[in-house]
C-alpha cells in the first residue's frame, strides 16, 4: 500500500461519522439555530415581515411589550394553565399509584385515562365547544344535580380561562399518568414487600419509596407543565380564537406576526417566551440535578 493510499483511507475513516451527521446537523442549524439567531435580530427592528426596510429600533419592542398592559396580560392567562398543570400532576400521581397495584379492570381504566392524549387537538376543541355550549352537556349535567342556571362557559371573561385550562387538564392528564405509571413500575417490587413487612402503609410507601424513586420523571413533567402553560395555543385558538380575555402568549405572537405584520414586536415576544422557558429549565436543573440523560 502506498503512502497516498494510506492517507486517502484514513481521511475517509475520519470523515465517516460526518457522513452520517451532515444531514442531521444541516436540519439542526437550519430549523433551530438560525431561527433563534434571526429572531434575536428581528426583535431589535421594526420589520413587517416582507418589506425591504428593516429599521433598527434597539430595545423599543421590548419596552412596548413590558409597558402595554394588553400585551402583558397573556402572562396572567398562563397562570390558569399553570394551575391546571399542577392539579394535573397531582391527579396523575394519584391514579398512577392506584393503578400500579392490583385493581379490577385495571387496563380499562388505564386506557380511558390515557386515550384523550392521543386525540386530535382540533377534534378536542370541537368536542369541548359542544360540551360548554349554553344549555349544552355541562349545563345539562349540572341540571341533573339541581343547578338550573346556564353559564356562558366560554363567553364570560371570568370563566373562560378556567374552562379552557380544564380542557388542557382533560387532554394531558393521560400523558403524565402514563409517565408516572412507567416510572413507578420500574421500582423493584421487593422494596414494597420489605416496606410492608416493616409496617409501612400506602401513604408511607408513596412518601418514602415512590416519590423519591420517580423524581426524575416528576421533574420532567414539571418542566413540561411550565413550558406547556406558557406555550398554550391549540385549545384556546380553536375554541375561542383568543376572545373574551383568553389570548395566550402564542396566540398573541401569531396574531402580531401573521395578521398585523409586526414581526419585530412578535419576535421580541418570542424571545421573552424563550428566555422564560430556558430560565425555568435552568432552575429545574438546579433543583433536581439531572441523573438520567447522559449522552457522552
Amino acid at each position: 500500500m502506498s503512502d497516498r493510499q494510506r492517507t486517502g483511507r484514513s481521511l475517509l475513516a475520519r470523515s465517516t461519522p460526518w457522513l452520517f451527521l451532515v444531514v442531521p446537523l444541516a436540519f439542526l442549524v437550519t430549523f433551530t439555530y438560525t431561527p433563534v439567531l434571526n429572531m434575536l435580530f428581528y426583535s431589535l427592528t421594526s420589520w413587517d415581515g416582507f418589506g425591504p426596510d428593516m429599521e433598527f429600533v434597539g430595545q423599543a419592542n421590548y419596552t412596548e411589550l413590558f409597558t402595554r398592559p394588553d400585551l402583558f396580560q397573556v402572562f396572567y392567562v398562563s397562570l390558569f394553565y399553570l394551575a391546571s398543570g399542577v392539579v394535573q400532576m397531582v391527579l396523575a400521581l394519584y391514579f398512577a399509584t392506584v393503578l400500579s397495584f392490583n385493581v379490577r379492570f385495571r387496563n380499562f381504566f388505564k386506557g380511558v385515562l390515557f386515550f384523550p392524549y392521543l386525540v386530535n387537538g382540533v377534534a378536542i376543541g370541537f368536542v369541548f365547544l359542544y360540551f360548554f355550549q349554553p344549555g349544552g352537556t355541562l349545563d345539562s349535567v349540572l341540571g341533573l344535580f339541581g343547578a338550573r342556571d346556564e353559564h356562558l362557559w366560554l363567553g364570560d371573561p371570568d370563566l373562560v380561562n378556567w374552562s379552557l385550562a380544564s380542557v388542557s387538564l382533560w387532554r394531558y392528564l393521560g400523558l403524565n399518568f402514563v409517565l408516572f405509571l412507567g416510572a413507578i413500575q420500574s421500582i423493584p417490587g421487593e422494596i414494597y414487600e420489605a416496606a410492608e413487612l416493616d409496617g409501612a402503609n400506602r401513604w408511607h410507601q408513596v412518601r418514602h419509596l415512590i416519590l423519591p424513586g420517580i423524581r426524575p420523571v416528576v421533574s420532567l413533567s414539571a418542566i413540561l407543565v411550565v413550558s406547556g402553560s406558557l406555550s398554550a395555543f391549540e385549545i384556546p385558538y380553536i375554541m375561542t380564537g383568543g376572545a373574551n380575555g383568553s389570548t395566550t402568549f402564542v396566540i398573541q405572537t401569531v396574531k402580531l406576526a401573521f395578521q398585523f405584520n409586526k414581526v419585530g414586536l412578535a419576535s421580541a415576544a418570542a424571545v421573552v417566551l424563550l428566555a422564560i422557558v430556558l430560565l425555568a429549565t435552568w432552575i429545574q436543573r438546579l433543583l433536581v440535578p439531572d441523573e438520567g440523560v447522559d449522552l457522552v
Binding site: 380499562f108 384523550p116 370541537f126
Partner: protein, 281 residues
C-alpha cells in the same frame, strides 16, 4: 374490635379508590360520548333535544356522509398520510444516523456536536416560528407539503435519545465482526444496526406518528391552501360553513377520532411503552 374498625376503614378505602376511578372515567368519556350521540342525531333531534338525550336511530350515518364529503376528509386523510410517511421515515433515518455516529465513532468535536443537539431540545418549537417562517418562505416551501415534512423531520431530540439508548445495547463485537468481513460503515449501519434497532424504530414511529397526525400549528401556519388541508386543518375549516349544525360538526370530529381509537385499541401496549420510553430516557 380494632380489627373490625380497621376492616371498615380498609373497605371504605377500597370503595373510595374505585369511586375515584369511576368518576374519572365518566368525566373522561362523557364529552366524547355526547359528541358521538350528537353525530347520530337528525337535524331536528339535534335542535330540539338536549345533549344528553339518545339518538332515535343509532345507525343514522347521514351526518358522517355529509362531513366526509363536504369536509373533504378523503383528501385530508391522503395529505396527512403523505406527510406522515415522509416525516416518520425521515425522523427514523435522521435519529438513527445521528445515534450511530455519536455512539460508534470517536471524532473531534464530538462533545460539541452532542451539546448542540441537547441544547436545541430546550428550545420549544412554538417560540421560534416567527423566524422559522421566514426561512421556510425563503426556500419557497410555503404552501407546500414539504414545509411540514421538513419541520417535523427537523431534528427530533427525543428520537435521537431513544435510538442512543438502544444503540448502546447492541454489542460492538457485531460491528467488528462485520468490519472484518469487509463491510463498510454504511453497510454496517444498514445491515447490522438498523435491523437490530427495530424496537426503537417502533417506538419512534408511534410517538412521532401521534404528534404528526394530531398537529395543528404547523399545517395551519405553513399550508393554508385548502387543497393541502390535513386532518386537523380540514376539520378546523369545516366548522365555518356549518356554524350551528352541531350534528354535522360532531360527525366530523368523530371521523377524525375513529382512526386514533382503532390504532389505540390494537397497539395499546406498544403505545404506552412508546410514550414512557420517549419521555423518560
Amino acid at each position: 374490635m380494632t380489627r373490625q374498625v380497621r376492616g371498615v376503614g380498609a373497605r371504605s378505602a377500597v370503595a373510595g379508590k374505585y369511586l375515584s376511578l369511576v368518576v374519572a372515567s365518566v368525566l373522561t368519556l362523557l364529552p366524547l360520548a355526547v359528541v358521538l350521540m350528537a353525530a347520530l342525531k337528525t337535524e331536528s333531534e339535534s335542535a330540539n333535544n338536549g345533549p344528553l338525550s339518545v339518538p332515535h336511530n343509532w345507525f343514522n350515518l347521514e351526518n358522517f356522509q355529509i362531513a366526509f364529503t363536504q369536509g373533504h376528509m378523503l383528501r385530508a386523510f391522503g395529505n396527512t398520510a403523505f406527510i406522515l410517511v415522509f416525516s416518520v421515515t425521515g425522523t427514523v433515518l435522521i435519529g438513527s444516523m445521528t445515534a450511530y455516529a455519536i455512539d460508534r465513532f470517536r471524532f473531534p468535536f464530538r462533545r460539541l456536536t452532542i451539546s448542540l443537539f441537547l441544547l436545541a431540545s430546550l428550545v420549544p418549537g412554538v417560540t421560534t416560528q416567527v423566524a422559522t417562517f421566514q426561512i421556510i418562505n425563503s426556500f419557497g416551501m410555503f404552501n407546500n407539503r414539504w414545509s411540514a415534512i421538513a419541520l417535523y423531520t427537523g431534528t427530533d431530540i427525543v428520537s435521537i435519545i431513544i435510538f442512543l439508548q438502544f444503540m448502546r445495547a447492541i454489542p460492538i463485537s457485531l460491528d467488528e465482526a462485520a468490519r472484518i468481513d469487509g463491510a463498510s460503515p454504511l453497510r454496517i449501519y444498514r445491515t447490522v444496526i438498523l435491523p437490530l434497532l427495530r424496537p426503537a424504530i417502533a417506538t419512534v414511529v408511534i410517538v412521532k406518528g401521534v404528534v404528526v397526525y394530531n398537529d395543528f400549528y404547523i399545517p395551519f401556519l405553513y399550508m393554508p391552501s385548502p387543497e393541502l388541508g390535513v386532518v386537523s386543518t380540514s376539520l378546523f375549516y369545516f366548522k365555518g360553513p356549518y356554524g350551528a349544525h352541531w350534528e354535522i360538526i360532531c360527525a366530523g370530529a368523530v371521523l377524525v377520532i375513529i382512526p386514533t381509537l382503532v390504532v389505540f385499541l390494537f397497539l395499546q401496549r406498544f403505545i404506552y411503552n412508546g410514550f414512557t420510553r420517549g419521555a423518560t430516557k
